[in-house]
């Protein structure tokens, strides 16, 4: 059993909830000020470590795009990152890779999703990034998807 507590308004909590919801993992959620996660006796305070450690095998991302998600979370107003992602996804669409690491979603998609969906709050319109907008449609259409509260 996994026990998660954190602020429902925090992106870190949302990232982890997205993984659990999309991968169909059981967990218990409590509202609290700081992120705290206990899974099988192990305690996590870092959302990224939790994402990579707790993701089932088919949700594991390749290192490049997992690192990209961490960069994006650290610099959510960096347009160069939006451009890089949009370009990657545009070519991915032509190569049968609708998600960041290929044909199925991984923790790299989950890692990027909160910053992309909330880019307006960082002053970035998604209008110049059409492939990115199509990708957000695909993520939102995944079974188990929950919107940011």
């Amino acid at each position: 059993m996994i026990a998660l507590s954190g602020s429902s308004l925090s992106r870190e909590t949302y990232r982890i909830r997205l993984l659990f919801d999309l991968a169909g993992m059981d967990y218990e959620l409590r509202d609290g000020p700081d992120l705290a996660l206990v899974a099988d006796g192990e305690r996590f305070e870092d959302a990224w470590r939790a994402l990579s450690r707790l993701a089932p095998p088919d949700w594991q991302a390749d290192g490049r795009w997992f690192a990209f998600a961490r960069r994006l979370a650290a610099s959510p107003a960096e347009t160069a990152l939006f451009r890089e992602l949009d370009q990657h996804l545009w070519f991915g669409e032509r190569e049968g890779k609708p998600f960041l690491c290929g044909d199925h979603p991984t923790v790299a998609d989950i890692g990027c999703f909160p910053e992309i969906m909330m880019s307006d709050q960082a002053g970035i319109s998604r209008l110049p990034y059409p492939a990115l907008r199509r990708w957000t449609d695909r993520v939102r259409g995944l079974p188990g998807f929950t919107a940011f509260p």
Binding site: S7, S8, L9, D31, Q87, W90, F91, R94, D120, Q121, A122, G123, S125, R126, L127, P128, Y129, P130, R133, R134, D137, R140, A147, F148, P149
Partner: protein, 355 residues
């Protein structure tokens, strides 16, 4: 002023902001009002110019009034809220609402956003066209600080993003506004032409619609709605608009539509209703490269366009400061990556020069 808006209940103050016995001025839809709270939850409101009493309702911790005649009592909320502070902001009410509406929200009132804990949402008071007062809500004392923090972080961003729609003269030409492949099934594509925001969507029969990105009801962006296959659904009040005509289903309203022609793998339109004058050329092979968005005016981009064999280039003026380069590969021997490298390098060079 729209009758529907006049007849709506509007929030004008947090009850606790009114000290008993004191007259408090405020402004609603361009009209100066005076509020007065004789005692308890009894509040009077009147236009400063006339002194004639307006209908008043005190609920949800706030004072509501109307410049017309409300058809219904004030809406209910699923849980109690308390006032978390009011902030004046130089941004149209609709833009604040747009920023706070999320995908699932079904607001009980056009100027209200209700959300989960701890920040419970906000009521927006439309002061005039380009200014509003945001009344923040919390569910309990503990949520007050969170509601304020969240809004404080968003306010400067909202204020810096007032869209300026300045249609340029001489817009009689036809422009590409998307690649045909951008309009995937059930998607709503978001772009702009000369400052006019557009919502593009392909219906299930394959027809490409080019529409103004505004619901005629409350001006909400249609790009946050849903492509239902034969209709586009505005996510705000669920109004649905038919593919082709833009006619609202069951309600006498229509979205502004623009002509749409698909040619050479691009979707073309015109804002000025000009007769079709899409460039004509003969290309047995024609494949859109990735459209490249440049932060520079069309004139600056046009001046730098290379004379590239194997690639035809067309420009879409997004706004006075932004341009999209649509490239068409006409040589099957050149991979699209190569065109993309060329166009992104070109973009970087132009943007460096524009700075």
């Amino acid at each position: 002023m729209d009758r529907v808006v006049l007849d709506e209940w509007h929030v004008v103050a947090a009850l606790e902001s009114l000290s008993p016995g004191q007259e408090v001025p405020t402004r609603l839809l361009g009209t100066d009002l005076t509020l007065m709270r004789p005692a308890g939850t009894i509040v009077a409101a009147w236009p400063a110019a006339s002194g004639k009493a307006l209908p008043v309702c005190v609920r949800h911790g706030h004072v509501w009034t109307s410049l017309g005649t409300p058809a219904q009592p004030l809406f209910d909320l699923p849980f109690p809220v308390i006032a978390a502070g009011s902030v004046s902001i130089d941004v149209p009410a609709q833009q604040v609402l747009d920023a706070f509406l999320d995908d699932k929200a079904e607001p009980p009132h056009p100027y209200c956003v209700i959300r989960g804990k701890p920040a419970a949402g906000l009521f927006v008071q439309p002061v005039e066209n380009d200014r509003c007062i945001v009344h923040l809500l919390a569910r309990d004392e503990a949520g007050l600080a969170a509601a304020r923090l969240e809004f404080a972080a968003l306010k400067p961003i909202l204020e810096s993003h007032v869209p300026e729609h300045r249609p340029s003269p001489g817009m009689s030409a036809w422009y590409p506004v998307a690649s045909a492949g951008d309009l995937v099934p059930r998607h709503i594509f978001h772009t702009a032409l000369a400052g006019q925001e557009l919502a593009l969507w392909r219906d299930d029969s394959g027809l490409a619609n080019v529409w103004e990105n505004r619901c005629p009801h409350r001006g909400v962006r249609l790009t946050i709605g849903e492509n239902l296959g034969t209709e586009l659904r505005c996510q705000y009040h669920g109004w649905r608009f038919s593919s082709g005509s833009g006619q609202c289903v069951g309600i006498p309203a229509r979205v502004a539509t623009y002509p749409s022609v698909e040619r050479y793998g691009l979707v073309w339109t015109t804002l000025a209703g000009a007769p079709e004058n899409i460039p004509v050329f003969d290309a047995p092979y024609c494949q859109p490269a990735r459209a490249v968005f440049v932060e520079a005016p069309l004139s600056a981009v046009a001046a730098e366009l290379p004379d590239q064999s194997g690639l035809k280039l067309f420009l879409q003026p997004v706004s006075d400061t932004q341009t999209v380069i649509h490239g068409l590969s006409i040589d099957p021997a050149i991979p699209l990556r190569q065109h993309d490298d060329l166009l992104t390098r070109l973009r970087d060079r132009i943007e460096e020069g524009a700075v």
